[in-house]
């Protein structure tokens, strides 16, 4: 019998070492402002707008703001603006 010992080639990811936790969720979306961030890819805008419509149908007094930087990643200033102006954010990614 032969016992072979080898070293692990996989590196620890920096993001896992210094990970952040997800933020607390609201109990309801009533009276909330929903931000939609579009990456600029075809169809993503249609999907996001439909999601916004349905959230307005399901909850009371929901406002919807639409943001795009025309590409991905979204320019930091636009992400910052969305985070400041909205209570929750939905984005769409496809490619």
């Amino acid at each position: 019998m032969h016992l072979l010992e080898v070293k692990n080639p996989v590196a620890q990811q920096r993001g896992v070492i210094s990970a952040f936790s997800a933020s607390d969720r609201p109990d309801t979306l009533d009276n909330k402002t929903v931000g939609l961030i579009w990456s600029g890819t075809h169809g993503g805008d249609i999907a996001l707008k439909r999601a916004g419509e349905m959230l307005q149908e399901r909850f009371e007094n929901v406002s919807v703001n639409f943001y795009t930087g025309g590409n991905y990643p979204t320019p930091p200033a636009i992400v910052q603006q969305a985070g400041e102006e909205c209570d929750v954010i939905v984005g769409a990614t496809a490619d």
Binding site: K7, P9, V10, A11, I37, G40, G43, A47, R50, V79
Partner: protein, 445 residues
Amino acid sequence: MIHDMIVIEKMGKPGVAIVSGRFDSDAVASSRAFGMPDLQWIVVPHIYRNLDPETCRTQTEDAIDELIGTLTASIDARTPDAETENNSRYEGSDRYDAILKMNQEFINDDLGDGLFLHPATPEAVAEMLTGTNLPPDHAVCDMPPGFGIATVEKIAVNAVMAGAKPEHLPVVIAAVKALSKIGGQGGKSLLMSTSPQAPLLIVNGPVTKNLGLNARSALGPGRDNQVNTIIGRAFALCFRNIGHWYPNKMDMDTIGTSRKFIQCIAENEDASPWDPFHVDQGFKANESTVSVFVTDGELDIQDQGNHTAEGLLKNLAYGSIFGTRSLQGEKGGVERLILMPPDVARPVGSQGFSKQAAKEFIHEHARGSLGKMIQYMPLKGEARVTEHWKWLENLSEQQLLDISIPVLDSPDDCYIMVVGADRAKTAVFPSGPAPVTEGIDQYMP
């Protein structure tokens, strides 16, 4: 988008991504790479980009309950990180049998390239580490796209698995470091693209001869390219296991390319009429460097009888007109890496063209139809068409086709490397973002 949602979460606001199809695995990998494994997303069946509008709406409607849940329900922490430090042990009837078992498990875990892997035993790794002056725990960089911590030891482990020798290690370390400097965040995200972007390593300086890197027919398999292949493979395994460039996780290529079996070649400096590439990049001729290019294709430009510089360069320029052009700004963002064989470079140089003059000539003559370059992207409703180009929306298809425009924004978007055997066959690669050149000598013992 995963990155954007993480920025939102760090602001204390819930952020949820709608993820399409096979991008679920990419979301897992990206959320870890960008520091928030607990990020929430929902998955819809198909990529939106090429769906008709009604299907875009209906597949979103089907996912709305789950979307609401991720925005309002409490979050369960995801599974902890996999162990990355422990050694693995394999028992076999003899050493070869144990190595076969190791290979099967590594392939199953997608830690290899599909080919036979050399066992990175502690002894083999210790020997590999004699190839550099750096200590094993020295962190060279965080390697994109997954931002794994590239310690010298992890690089050495992957180099052993590729079949490399200690003298190859400084080249691999330098290439890993160079990749970490490629582009900005956008440049790094290119490595995760659904297009076949892949690095190509090109070495300059004395180390090329010391190691036996081939600068002639340098991009193929076989005896003459053994060192080219092994160093390229070592880098590729680092890219995979340190950069977490795993297929369908952080490498989202649609079809793939054999260029992802990454090659490392040398510039044929002896056959060049010009300064070598690393001198153009600010290094001394007696220094050794590796340059990392990100390529997106490959085309042979054959020449069947031109012997004047103008004739050779016009043929090369005309052959460089292919691909697409961005409309996201005034710049098209297109680059070309040209591997120019000696039978083209020598007459061009001897007839009075400096390398810069050759690049300017190519830039001037590589013009094509704007309409053909932007056919890939319908203009109507496209967010990536910036104000600078909005006037195009009012033109007919024929008018767009009739607009002639340079493929390259500037002569400096074209990079000439003299590589190859005897024959006027040039290889042109669409490439970008701009290459990064890293010194090798600093990593030698």
